[in-house]
């Protein structure tokens, strides 16, 4: 396996970085958040033009057939700039679900997503988190010419501006059966769909969505027996989310090192106090660990060899190491680090959000241990 970026990946990453440095600096982002806008359509258009929206999709649907490593190359700067746009939710979750489907409706919808004309959201997590797709319990009852959806999805990222929802639901069995899951395309304006929107702590727009007897025609079922599709799609999205987190961690390490080298107390830069300098060293160790795990797991995935424990190790590490770095960055900044005005806390909140999505580090470490102890890994 090769772990170094190709020249193409370097170029891709550089061009994303340049775009964001130009148009998405921290102040600009904060102004957008304060204005209440759920995203910047200009950035989305720019990403579409650069081919980033189509990056992970096959060429047949207008994509570029990019690898996991390609996606990671762009997701790191997304994290370093705290992007609130629905790249993960519309492209890597909803979009990839549609891409796995051969239903005409799915393909038609996907085409609009790839061009950036429309966005989609992935309505999947339930309760306080759905670490394993087998835990989905939202009911899709067979009805005349289709299905009736009833239940609730929570923390649907990018729901506010989404033109369509990709909803995981259960046509038979009960959680935690892996069998009986399907994916449906649902129009958010359809009768019976209630959306309670909010902003997440990391600035993304999201919603809790209630489905109250929502009628779905059969041709809007885009996958049945969907557990494996869900696992594949979510695993790839997890790697991308982890890349965002690693991007945020890198920014925290850099900014905190700079701050500690310039901020003076007791007549000297605080980086000269050994407690601070060793904390910086620990941040760097954590960052090197996080990035090593990310790059290695990415290469495993591109080699078709990333199993569930590999993804769990990555997700667990990123959540743990990210928290460590974020908390250390805030403590090192002191009062300033507690304010909404500097980016430090925002990076930390991005990391915390990523940790909570799709099973937190506690869940994933335990899943790894369970698999090992019962002979699975």
């Amino acid at each position: 396996m090769d772990f170094s970026q190709t020249d193409e990946q370097k170029m891709l990453q550089e061009s994303v970085k340049r775009l964001l440095e130009r148009s998405y600096d921290f102040e600009t982002r904060q102004k957008m958040l304060q204005s209440g806008r759920p995203w910047s359509p200009e950035i989305w258009e720019a990403l579409a033009e650069m081919g980033i929206l189509g990056l992970p999709f096959a060429e047949e649907v207008g994509g570029f057939g990019g690898s996991m490593a390609d996606v990671v190359a762009v997701a790191e700067p997304f994290g370093a700039h705290l992007l609130i746009e629905p790249y993960v939710s519309s492209i890597l979750l909803a979009g990839q679900c549609l891409a796995q489907s051969d239903s005409p409706a799915a393909q038609a919808q996907l085409a609009k997503i790839v061009t950036g004309e429309q966005t989609a959201a992935f309505a999947h997590e339930e309760g306080k988190g759905t670490a394993d797709p087998a835990l989905v319990s939202l009911a899709a009852t067979e009805a005349e010419d289709g299905f009736t959806l009833s239940g609730e999805k929570r923390m649907v990222l990018g729901a506010t501006q989404a033109d369509t929802l990709v909803v995981s639901a259960r046509t038979r069995g009960t959680a935690p059966d892996a069998d009986g899951l399907s994916l449906f395309m649902v129009d958010p304006k359809q009768q019976g769909v209630s959306i309670r929107s909010f902003v997440t702590i990391d600035g993304r727009h999201a919603a809790h969505i209630t489905f109250d007897g929502v009628q779905i025609p059969s041709d809007r079922r885009v996958a049945d027996d969907a557990h494996e599709v869900l696992q594949t799609v979510i695993s790839r999205a997890i790697v991308a989310l982890c890349a965002e987190a690693v991007g945020a961690m890198g920014a925290l390490l850099r900014q905190t090192s700079e701050y500690a080298s310039t901020r003076k107390q007791f007549g000297a830069p605080i980086a000269t106090f050994q407690t601070i300098s060793h904390r910086l060293a620990d941040m760097k160790i954590a960052y090197v660990k996080a990035r090593s795990c990310l790059l290695y797991t990415t290469a495993l995935m591109d080699a078709g060899r990333a199993g569930a424990p590999d993804i769990s190790i990555l997700k667990g590490q990123i959540g743990t190491l990210g928290r460590e770095i974020g908390e250390a960055a805030i403590q090192t900044h002191g009062g300033v680090g507690m304010t909404d005005e500097v980016s430090i806390g925002h990076f930390h909140k991005r990391i915390l959000t990523i940790n909570a999505l799709f099973g937190d580090s506690e869940y994933h470490f335990r899943a790894v241990g369970k698999s090992l102890a019962t002979g699975g890994a």
Partner: protein, 401 residues
């Protein structure tokens, strides 16, 4: 040792419990449940203090002649325990735990008569003007200056992390009155009768949790009377050190943590573990809860030893040990709370958090406060002397010269 019999103490406990069951308004109770910081929501905190003051219970720690209760250590503990069986807002500490005790010790009779009653009643809120943008851990390097002019001082500079300055009507502060000698010399302790003197400008600073709890205060040729000075000119450092003693050694910090842990434990009865079953039955949850509960219990044990006058009270490092233990435990409890909240902690719900908004939270009330509490509690290891500074002080007590 206690002068009360067990029966007397039981009767006292019943009296306190009965009072706390009826005295707080709904808004005060709501503020208690929605407290995510050492500082309760301001208005309800003040209202609650006024009610307690009518009962004569606003400041159990104070000497009786200044409005204290005259309770024994056991009674104070009982009051704390009963207080923490309910989700009542903590009283705002600056006035009751800092300025009040300081004035009682070092204030003039005029200052005591003027300020103490209004502190007890909650009419006055005192914000603390210590830190400056370039003077945090190194507080003694502060530069905000006060130049004597007739009977007044003229203040120039700025103060930061002044909690609730935008809601306060009074301020106590450290100013530089001399640049001679060591930096600790030349500092003076001032009481400001108002926070809207001409030339004062208060800018609230939004925190990570979305709330403006602290502020920056700018002074541009602000004229204040010298009569607000506590102690002599250039002796403010020792006044502040005296006050810190009260801040750190004030009262029991464990009851609120016990209460939070209880809320977490109760919430876990209603949650499902992703590995199946109730979260409260999950062995990993139980182990982590047990380890945390053990540390909270040990903080309580430590505090009771101190209140009971154990000889370790003579250790100069004690306030730093207490501050370090307490602040780091608050953070750990807050992490546990976010673990139980899961995804539900990710939504910003400033409206639901606002007392009296009538907006229902999207999850439980514990979910609602979990993330703001976690984020806010990152400050506990920073304020009142960073834990780095505290550990320096603790280590100093171990030096074999």
């Amino acid at each position: 040792m206690s002068s009360q019999t067990k029966e007397e103490l039981d009767a006292f406990r019943a009296e306190v419990a009965a009072y706390l069951d009826t005295a707080p308004t709904d808004a005060i109770r709501e503020a208690g449940r929605k407290t995510t910081s050492a500082f309760a929501p301001f208005e309800q905190g003040a209202a609650w203090q006024a009610i307690l003051n009518e009962k004569g219970w606003a400041a159990p720690d104070w000497p009786e002649e200044y409005g204290g209760t005259g309770w024994s250590a056991e009674q104070r503990t009982i009051f704390e325990e009963e207080y923490r069986k309910q989700d009542l807002p903590p009283l705002l500490p600056n006035s009751l735990k800092m300025v009040g005790p300081l004035l009682i010790d070092l204030g003039t009779e005029e200052q005591k008569a003027k300020y103490l009653p209004r502190i007890l009643s909650g009419e006055d809120y005192w914000t603390q003007g210590y830190s400056e943008p370039n003077s945090g851990s190194d507080l003694a390097s502060l530069k905000c200056s006060a130049v004597a002019d007739g009977d007044d001082y003229i203040i120039d500079g700025s103060k930061i992390w002044t909690t609730f300055a935008h809601k306060s009507n009074r301020m106590f502060m450290l100013v530089r009155t001399s640049n001679e000698g060591k930096k600790q010399q030349g500092i003076t302790f001032l009481l400001l009768d108002r926070t809207d003197f001409a030339g004062m400008d208060v800018r609230p600073i939004k925190g990570l949790d979305g709330h403006a709890e602290f502020c920056e205060v700018f002074f541009d040729n602000v004229r204040v009377p010298q009569s607000g000075r506590v102690g002599a000119e250039n002796e403010g450092w020792s006044v502040a050190k005296h006050l810190l003693k009260h801040e750190r050694n004030g009262s029991a910090n464990s009851p609120v943590l016990v209460r939070y842990l209880k809320r977490i434990t109760e919430a876990a009865q209603d949650e499902t573990s992703p590995f199946g079953g109730k979260l409260s039955d999950d062995p990993v949850f139980q182990r982590d809860l047990g380890a945390l509960h053990a540390d909270v219990t040990t903080l309580a044990q430590f505090e009771r030893l101190i209140m009971g006058g154990h000889e370790m009270i003579n250790d100069p490092a004690l306030p730093s040990i207490a501050k370090t233990m307490n602040s780091e435990l608050i953070q750990r409890v807050s992490v546990m709370m976010t673990r139980v909240a899961g995804l539900e902690g990710l939504s910003m719900q400033l409206d639901a958090l606002a007392v009296g908004s009538g907006v229902d939270p999207m999850g439980s009330e514990l979910d609602l406060i979990s993330m703001p509490f976690y984020l806010n509690s990152r400050a506990t290891t920073i304020y009142a002397g960073t834990n780095e500074v505290q550990r320096d002080l603790i280590a100093r007590s171990l030096q074999i010269a």
